[in-house]
Each structure stands twice: as C-alpha cells, then as structure tokens.
Amino acid sequence: MRPLLLAPALLLAAPLLAACTESTAPSSDAAAGDDVVTVSSTDDACEVSSTEVPSGKVTFEVTNDGSQVTEFYLLAGDGQAIKGEVENVGPEATRQLVLAVPPGDYVTACKPGMSGEGIRADFTVTDSGADLTPTGDDAELVDQAVTQYQAYVQDQSDQLLAGTKAFVKAYENGDDDQARALYPVARTHWERIETVAESFGDLDPKMDAREADLEAGQRWTGWHLMEKDLWPARADDYTALTPKQRRVYGDDLLANTDDLVGRIAKLELTVDQIANGSRGLLEEVATGKVTGEEEYWSRTDLYDFQANVDGARVAFEGVRPLLERNDPDLADQLDERFTALQKLLDQHRDAAAPKVDGQSGFVGYDQLSTSEVKQLADAVNALAEPLSRLTAAVLA
C-alpha cells in the first residue's frame, strides 16, 4: 500500500505548469541563451543576482546559505499569485527553478524557516519578443483535465457506495453466492480510484487492509476480512463469522465508505496529482496485483488489475492534451502500451464471471500460468517505465 502518494500535494496545490525543480547540477545544465539568476538565501537576506531579465526561459539557481530550511518564490506583481516555487531547500543545498516568464512585474521571495511572507524584492521581466506559448490555452486544458477527472472520481465513488451497499446487504443476509458475485464488481470502483481513496490514510487501513498487513494488536476490518469469510478454502482451521459478526463488519465498511464518499466530494485535485495518480495506479498493479497478493482468498485479482488500469488510463487521457503539446512521442508510446496491456488482459476474460459495466469479468488468478503472469508483468513494466515520466512531461 502506498497511501500517501497523492496526499502531500493536497495542501500545497502547486501552481500548474509552473516549474520543474532540479538538484545541484553543473551550470552547463542551462542551455546557452537561457538566463540564469542565482539566489542566495540566508537567515536574514535574499540576494538575487539580477533584478531584471528579458522574457523567456529563466533559471533561478537557489542556494541556501543560511542555517534554516528555506523556500524561494516568484510571485506576480501583486505579491500574491505564485508563479513558481522551490520548497525544502536545506542548508548548503542548491535547487533550480526553471520558468518560462512573460514580460511584467514580479516579486521574488526567500522564505528561511518556511513561514511568514518571506524576504521580498521587486523583479522585472522585460519584453524580449520571445514567443512564449500563451498561458490561456494551458489554463483551459488544465481546467478541462481537472473537471473531467474530478467527475470520474465522483462517479466512481458514487458507484462504490451503491455497490458496497448491495454487497453488504447480500453478505449480512447470508446470501453468499450473491455476495461473492457482487464483491469484485463493487471493488472495481474502489480500485479505479485507489490512489485517491488511499490518500485518506485513516480510512484506507480500516477498509482495504489485508491480513498480512496488520500490525500486532491491530483489529482487522474491511473488505478482505469479508473476502476471507466468503472464500475460506485456502484458510487453515477457519471459523466462519456469525450473522451478528457479519452485521458488525458489514455496517462498519458501509459507514467508512459513506465517510470516504463524502470526503471525496470535497476534494480539489490538481493536474499534477492526476498525472501522479496514473503512475500510482500502475504501481499498485506492479506491487499488489501482478503478484496475486491483493485478493488472496477470492482470486479475483484480475478485476482489481483491470480497475487500476482503467483508472490510470482515464487519468492519462485527461492530461493527454497537455502531454500532446509537450511530448507527443511519450503520448503515443503510452497509448500503445495501454493498448498492449489491455489486449493481454482481455485474453483472460470469462463470460461466466460477474460482469462489470456490462463487460465480461475475469478468470481467477490461479487459472493463469506462470508464463501468462510473466507476460502481464512485462506489459506492466513496459507501461510503467514511460508512465513514470508523465507528470514531469505534463508540467514541462
């Protein structure tokens, strides 16, 4: 589990398309013609090597010459809107902030100690005539991506709630066949937005913990407890839960799902979180699904696998127009590899298995041969490697 992959950026919604930060690198890193502005941040000063540069690509090389952790900001002329930032620059460290800046008045700020309004100074960008892609188009593409993905997350969480309700009802009523049929379908909606769901670090362990993940003394609740109760064949000396216990665990899952869905409705995602979510979902596949660990009892891993891939693909498609402009080759490669992985997954569909969205379900994971699992692993690696560059390419 990687519950916080999405979370840290939530509070500090980074300005979109602003920046990429770099570690210390040879100064040859900045191509000829780019302006490099060095910034020395100390505990009580912010020395900027020049206060005026021509418009175009500007690299701020920020060195922390103080004793506290510092931040550097380029703010709009009003001193409020953030155009770009580097955070967490430790003492003696150097970070780069690379920006494409249009002409105008700006404000620079160092923030030793990471609080307060920082040590500010005016900064001017003159018109060099350089052609900077209008930010208006970007903003529109970003808005579209966020709106679409937000709607997707919302829809999936609604379906998760409905699916969970139906599942819990069947489970609590002792209708095991029905519960077993509903289980992988309801979980599909969880797995499609797994990185979002897991970003709520208090709920995830209550809802999605596997028995092997538990710490000593931790109480086991959630999906996988009921999974084991419905598919106890691989368990030694298993004692089935009583109807009363079933009600306790079923109601608990439903309450947590309700809570989750309420919180998701208030989420505001940023485009880098969406791109990171795509990568995160593929990591879920690589670490939990392809290994057949997620659904140890029910062997319904391929449903989760497919759902993670669905979510990753929707997130990718959301940011695709931005990627298309920045790195069309990467967009094509990701298209190809999503398609190749889907083709492999489709080979394992089973018309008799519970359907999701009207599509056939999947055979049990134990039906796959070692070489079939290896093929899936290869396709996941093939996709995950370029996907690891998605966020940076989208923000470039």
Binding site: C20, T21, E22, S23, T24, A25, P26, S28, D29, A30, A31, D34, R95, V98, R337, K374, D378, N381, A382, L383, A384, E385, P386, S388, R389, T391, A392, L395, A396
Partner: protein, 422 residues
Amino acid sequence: MPRPASISRRGLLGGGAAAVGLGGAFAVGRASEAAGSSAGSGSVESERYALRGQHQPGIVTPAQDRLHFAAFDVLTEDRDELIDLLRSWTDAAEEMMAGRAVGSGAIGSFDLPPDDTGEALGLPASGLTITFGFGPGLFATTEGEDRFGLADRRPAGLEDLPHFPGDALIEARSGGDLCVQACAQDPQVAVHAIRNLARIGFGTVSVRWSQLGFGRTSTTSTQQETPRNLFGFKDGTDNVKAEEVDALDEHVWIGADDDPDAAWLAGGSFLVARRIAMDIEVWDRQPLGDQEDFVGRAKGTGAPLSGGEEHTAPDFSLAGSDGPIIPTTSHVAVVHPDHHDGVRMLRRGYNFVDGTTDLGALDAGLFFLAYVRDPRTHFTPVQQAMSRHDALMEYLTVTGSAVFAVPPGAGEGEYVGEPLFG
C-alpha cells in the same frame, strides 16, 4: 530541459582516457585513477576498457572477478524498435564502461526518475566490459516465424544445442533472444550495468533469466594466475589466451569466409553458456586420491597426474599400475584438445552460489561460458564426450543452457550488431 553533460561517476572528466585497442582488439586501458599517479600503479578497480574495436570487449579481456549475465526475450515485433534498443544499449554500455552514469545521470530533475539508477555513483569503471550476443530466437521464433527479416542471415552454427546426457535443463534458465555479459572487478558495477540495460529495455525486451557469478574460473591472459573452481581445483589451465593470436583466429574468432550467409558475424564468435550445478557436499566426501583421478590433475599444483608443473602437457600414454596414470575417464583426458582434433575453447566461466536449496545444500556450481568459432565443431563433440565418459559428471547437473552469436566489435558511430541489420 537541456540535458546535463554526462559526468563521470568519479569526476574523472577526461582524466586517463581509455586506451582504444591496439589494432582494435584487446583494448586495455589501465588508466590510473588519479591524475599524476605513476603509470602501472592502477588498481584493478581503475581498469578501463573500450567498447569499440575489431572485437567486442569481454572475450579476450583478462577475465575480471565478477559477473552478471542476463538473457532477454525480445517482446517487440518491430525491427526498428529492436535497432533503437541496440543503439541505446551501445551508448549506455560505452558510458558505463568509461565509468560514467547513463543518460542524464543519477542526479537530475527532481520531478523525474533519474536516468541512471545510481548505485555505481562514486565507483570507478572497475574494468567493466559489456558484451552482447544474439540467440537463435532473433532469426526465427520456435514457430519458425521470421519476425525481423533476419532468417536468411542466420549463422549455420547458431542452433539450439542437442540434448546431452546429464542435462536437466530448466526452461526458465535456458535460451534467450539476446544476451548481455557484464564482467567487472566490483560486483556492484556489474549488477548496475545489467540493471540499467534491463531498464532501458522495458517494453522492448524482457529479462528471461540472469546469473550472478563471483570468482572467475578461467584465465584469458598469460598474466593471470589460474583460479580455482568450487571443487577446489585449478580450472582453465589450458585456456586459449589473449596472447595466442593465431589460436584465437583458429578457435575463437569467426573468419570472413566461415559462413557466407552470415558474413556480418566475421570477427565475432559464438558463446555457449551453461549453468552447471555441482553436488558440492557429496564431492567434499571424496578422498583426495579419487578427486585427483576424476580431474586428472593434482589438486595442489594443478599439474597433470603424469607429472611436471601446472602448464606441463599431460602425457596420456604414461602407464600407471592400472592403465594410464591419467585415467581415461578423468576430466582432462576426456576433454583435452589432443582427443578432439585439437579444438580449443576460450573459457570464461564463473563460480556461482545462489544461496542454498530447500534441503540446505549449497545451490552452487560453475556458470560455464565458452567462446568458440563454431559450437558444432568446438563445443558439441567435447560436451558429448564429457557427458558419456567424464567421471566428474557424477557430481554435475546442467540446469541451464544457451547459445548466442556474438557480433564483432562496433566501429565508431556504430551500434553493436549493426552489420546484421545493415
């Protein structure tokens, strides 16, 4: 974003350039690590070899101590994608052999996974050589499909080896469409090389199997001491050595006229790889006299049982009390070139220990690597004789096997294997 200039893992920019091969072959650069230190004082870690030359490195290069060997299946069906990979691999191999990080290095943009995985940062080149080979599957799949349009260039000698008695091959440890042999004085450097090449290959190729080796079991230069295998015996005494130029041409390098269909392979070689598991615990219970009879050499000195020093030629006709003093079933008698029309191999094997088995025995043996001009004349008959007659076979099980055509060295601006696709 501009790509930072690739930096040396040790800040060695330009200091001690690798010697590019005298005549292309056997390119040895004993570049000293720090500028100003006297020539010849370089440690083994500071050895550097050139990727480019008439032959690939890692064949006659004095055998390094450590190995990571990987075999790959090709996933793509697109010839251009395969060529792109070979080009990327060649570039990355050249960087790593020079002691530099691959691509834009291990420390770059905070927003991207670094191009280089970083575990070799701060380590010198360590004599790293990277050697590439092509398996039979590149020329035709098992279903006979010519997926890359290479079938008419398939070398006649590149065919799956026949089954030998004593083989208990594990499919997942055998075969492969491509191979990469990474040898170095530092295991971390060898593993770094395979790891980064595998990463570059994701989506185009898939690792089929890989093998770590510690401790070379052969000498490929007269300057090296003969090492010992895990049976405790000196191994590779009569190996073809880098200094034996004529023998290399006769037994190792493929000649221009060897195979008209595979003219691209001239200057290359064939590589036979065999994972030979040793029954270590049982072997250790054999009396020394028996051990020496099985091998045909003295355990201490490595001299043949017919007398002399390690490098004295064995006398197979010298009689003992009960037949020849070097038993006819001894390893040296069974495989000696005198009994195989004079054919020799360039062996480059490594000891391996992959932990222990479920029963607590060492999962250990010899990862046998041999470079030969033609496996059909230089390997198969010798292996057949060994499987049938060699007393050592009682303690050996071959669990993996593969054969590769190793293209000649890449010239300036070329990728390894370019003549095959040209």
